[in-house]
Symmetry: C2
Subunit: 168 residues, 2 copies
DNA sequence: CACCACTACCTCAGCGGTGAGCTACCCCGG
DNA sequence: CCGGGGTAGCTCACCGCTGAGGTAGTGGTG
């Protein structure tokens, strides 16, 4: 019977507050813990490519968008789920390193067009396989069926929270 | 066919980099997204009780430990998974508000003993049911069977990462 | 019993994010 | 064609955490 840290916590609550049903923690607490493991593993991977998670996040969004690899800060803000101030900061760092460029939009005087440079695309394409290998490696403890089942349950969970994607 | 944000991202990668197997993102990306939803929901709950997540985390650890509700900063550091500096800061805030007290250990001159005050215990016991209700509410979109299955898969995942609890 | 590797806790500079607020610009209605 | 609500992006003060480093105390060893 190998338990995890959450089993310990649940046992403590069962002893101290037997009147409360702490079962939800079994799901939610574990998600928080796993996210931390994911974060640490990814950070180590990104560091090998002179990147950090926020930078990778932006570069990947631009790369995913396809040629000509352009998005506005607002679009980046929506996919990254951070505030506009955070995106400004990220773009400052990436522009400084020559991985992206900022230009004003021709059709909308307020908008900025962020473009992935060749160097930026090269940096992302170099890091991406390693990143995927890291994620793949983390999942090797689960069977393919378990992985699929887990992905499915997590999607159901997200959808049930009303987090539908922002229209194609 | 309701998809989530991750389905959109996976479709983009499939178009731009059909040579790569991005399936692992289906699990890991969703965990990150869910953690963010959890964080936001919990923050709103804690705010209703004049608390924030780091404070609740410490108070809950002390409460869980059982009477006399005492732990060292090192023990708190291990359960909270943050650095010692972060714990020092958290304890400063909680001590300021009279929710915990700090005293020196009698048996070990280096150690500090953190004790939950009556006010601290009252604050936690007031927030805890609301906190559980929030978590319960987030999960209502999944059936009881799905919740159990999800908790089980997440535990397997954590255990497979070698994150066994730090010995009773 | 003096030494020393180890542990507990605190300090502090730096980092990335938030949230409020600003300016510039868009565009609809009167 | 002008006014005004809405949007895009940036600025800035603040916040919590990290990671490196410092001090004090512990306990085994020769």
């Amino acid at each position: 019977m190998t338990g995890d840290a959450m089993d310990t916590i649940l046992a403590q609550w069962a002893r101290e507050r037997p009147d409360l049903d702490c079962a939800p923690m079994g799901v939610i607490g574990r998600i928080s813990q796993l996210q931390r493991e994911v974060f640490l593993a990814q950070r180590a991977t990104f560091a090998r490519h002179d990147l950090d998670a926020p930078s990778f996040d932006v570069l990947a969004a631009l790369r995913r968008a396809g040629a000509p690899y352009q998005l506005t800060p607002t679009a980046l803000m929506r996919t990254a789920l951070v505030t506009s101030g955070a995106i400004t900061q990220r773009l400052d760092r990436l522009e400084e390193r020559g991985l992206i460029t900022r230009g004003r939009s021709e059709s909308d005087g307020r908008a900025v067009v962020v473009t992935l440079t060749d160097a930026g695309r090269a940096a992302l394409d170099a890091a991406l396989p390693d990143h995927l290998e890291t994620e793949h490696g983390m999942l090797t403890g689960l069977t393919a069926a378990e992985q699929a089942q887990l992905a499915d349950l997590l999607r159901r969970f997200l959808v049930s929270l009303g987090r539908t994607p922002p229209e194609a």
